[in-house]
């Protein structure tokens, strides 16, 4: 597995990574919703993104996993640019394996993308028992490649209660090393995690415990402000909780975290799904303030009034469609922030050169509960933009439309036909939908996309952009 020169997809800085060659493939996890009594396993699909290829824009292969009911959601690489970080570098480890966790099953699949990246193979399955026994955690959510290990987080315990948190895997053998936290302080809920590696800081976000989310949104809990509304700041060296940043209980579900890629910048963006005050969604900026971190709302996306007759039961009483911001992503140059409002069907681009004052520079409508905005190649769409991934050069953005099976059913009771679309970013702001790119997944639900070689949210960097030529 060790090579003579560093893996060519490892870059010292984010700006260097922007010069990487264009992606030819993407990996997408695909959920089989198992409705109508059928039981089929989830899968990893491979999308051809090579514009020269005769199968461009098509799913060219699919790896079916051996179990049903996994609920595949997020996934990540075994190694990335953080392998170049100076304290314990391992640049000769290949970026080669995808770690694919089951959000319901707590199983972890290890998939080898070599020798043929178009034919990924399952080489190891870490069973939930091992995860439970060695970490105490259950419901595996997200995977990030750290400088010293593969980091995975979990929503809670095997019994479905909290606390959720982080565990690590050995980046060579994939053995579960154990729980990461030494002192979690008041932290109880988990969802996403990210780092400012050169500042020894980790940030984590909050959704709910497995019992709070697995059967759908619980309106009682939601209206009681019980879903996550805090960010937590941790010291990477001591593994101790340092700070809680409370956005207020009216901000429900603070989910995706996207830090600035330049390690000399001490800020990042966090998306909040909905506000109990006015059903708006929002994006908050965390930033260094003196010795600690502070947080401030910098983007608000309002709810859209609608005829209750058009709304699913869960939001009929509101007479409006909340945007439900579920994913955000930041380009490698830290210049453009993309945001998916899954329920209203709006996909937005913001210029965040000044992170405290984002400027909306683009908006595209796709699907949505009421709008059902059409795609040139398909016509009316259902579902709405959800997972977003950006190419390293920032020019192409890929979006898929499913969220989480139990929640899909509540907001789109007619079911969701899975799709993936592509947008192109204008160099000085703005984006347009590629009218010719449309991947139809039929009854299957695509979720996270990872681009071959890395993308805007897969890698972490230890060297600043400036002096690295």
């Amino acid at each position: 597995m060790a090579t003579w020169t560093p893996d060519p997809t490892f870059y010292p800085s984010a700006t260097m990574a922007m010069g990487a060659q264009r992606e030819k493939l993407a990996y997408v996890v695909v959920l089989h919703p198992n409705g109508n009594g059928e039981r089929r396993p989830d899968a990893l699909a491979v999308l051809d993104l090579d514009s020269e290829s005769p199968t461009y824009g098509q799913a060219v292969s699919r790896l079916d996993f051996p179990y049903t009911g996994d609920e595949l959601h997020h996934f990540g690489w075994n190694a990335c640019s953080s392998a170049l970080c100076p304290t314990m570098p391992h640049p000769h480890l290949e970026r080669r394996y995808l770690l694919v966790p089951g959000l319901r099953s707590s199983r972890m699949y290890v998939v080898d993308t070599k020798p043929d990246p178009k034919q990924p193979r399952l080489i190891k399955t870490i069973e939930p028992d091992e995860v439970h026994a060695k970490s105490g955690y259950s419901r595996l959510h997200t995977v990030h490649c750290g400088p010293d290990a593969i980091y995975v987080n979990a929503l809670g315990r095997p019994d479905g209660e909290g606390p959720g948190g982080i565990l690590t895997l050995d980046h060579r053998t994939f053995d579960v090393k154990g729980r990461w936290e030494k002192d979690r302080g008041p932290q109880h809920l988990a969802y996403d995690f990210t780092w400012h590696l050169t500042q020894d800081v980790m940030i984590t976000s909050e959704w709910g415990t497995p019992n709070m989310v697995e059967d759908g949104v619980n309106p009682e809990l939601l209206l009681g402000g019980k879903y996550g509304h805090q960010l937590h700041v941790w010291d990477i060296r001591t593994r101790r909780h340092l700070q809680t940043l409370d956005l207020g209980p009216e901000q429900q579900m603070v989910l995706e975290l996207r830090p600035a890629h330049d390690p000399n910048k001490s800020y990042g963006f966090a998306g909040v799904v909905t506000s109990l005050k006015d059903l708006s969604a929002s994006i908050w900026l965390w930033y260094r303030d003196g010795q600690g971190i502070a947080v401030k709302k910098v983007i608000e996306i309002p709810a859209e009034p609608a005829d209750p007759a058009l709304l699913p039961p869960i939001i009929q009483g509101f007479g409006a469609v909340p945007p439900l911001l579920t994913d955000i992503n930041l380009s490698l140059d830290d210049r453009y922030l993309y945001a998916s409002s899954w329920a209203t069907g709006e996909f937005q681009q913001y210029d965040v050169t000044d992170p405290f004052n984002p400027k909306k520079t683009g908006s595209v409508r796709l699907g949505g509960i009421v709008s059902r905005a059409a795609h040139p190649k398909r016509g009316d769409l259902n579902g709405g933009p959800q997972m977003v991934e950006i190419s390293r050069d920032g020019k192409r953005i890929y979006v898929t439309n499913s969220l989480y099976s139990a929640w899909d059913a509540q907001f789109y009771p007619d079911g969701i036909r899975g799709w993936a679309v592509k947008l192109e970013a204008e160099p000085e702001g703005g984006m347009r939908l590629d009218p010719d790119f449309f991947v139809d997944f039929g009854e299957d639900r695509p979720h996270q996309i990872r681009l071959q070689g890395g993308d805007a949210s897969s890698d972490f960097f230890c060297y600043t952009n400036g002096k690295t030529h």
Partner: protein
Amino acid sequence: MNEQLPWITLAALGAYHGLNPGMGWLFAVALGLQEGSRSAVARAFGPIALGHAASVAAVVVLVGALQTAIDATLIRYAGGAVLLAFGLYKLLWPLSHPRWVGMRVGSRDLASWSFLMATAHGAGLMLIPVLVKLPEQVASQTDHATQMQHAAHMQHTAMAMSAIDISGPALMAVGLHTIAMFSVMGVLALVVYEKVGLAMLRRAWLNLDRVWAGALIGAGAITIAL
């Protein structure tokens, strides 16, 4: 030439460690990039060199102490065996390394980091063949110089004498090795920081770990055989 060989080897080993990004210069550059200052790069050199020297000195002192108490041949075999075992370990588990996360480091942390990395790399171990040879060299030199005077005492105090006498050369050994390391590390860090940039890492960072493991094994074999 035979007499110079250990010293040349010591200097070459120091230079090799100075070249290795994982053992110092890259961290110095990273610290400089964080603060945007060349002096931050340079301030890292001292602690890194010190930590490395401490790791090497630990082996030198240990071997020196053992040489007063244990027969030279036994030390030779034991030292060679340790080298062989360590080299094999490095060959079979190439990606094992001590865990250190944390880039907010003061001088003491940096020296500790360097000590840890040097020890995990077997920096001091590579001196074993030299250290094992040194008493013979020194003994033969003192023989020529003071043969008549000490002939009567040599038999009783040979081992004690050799221990005392090699402390000077041993110190020089650590010193020379460290100076070589410091110089190469310093030049490389500053050139990369000021002029070349880190893009070269993508191609120039050769995986010398296998070569190093082979060198450890070779050194072990030489120590035992000679």
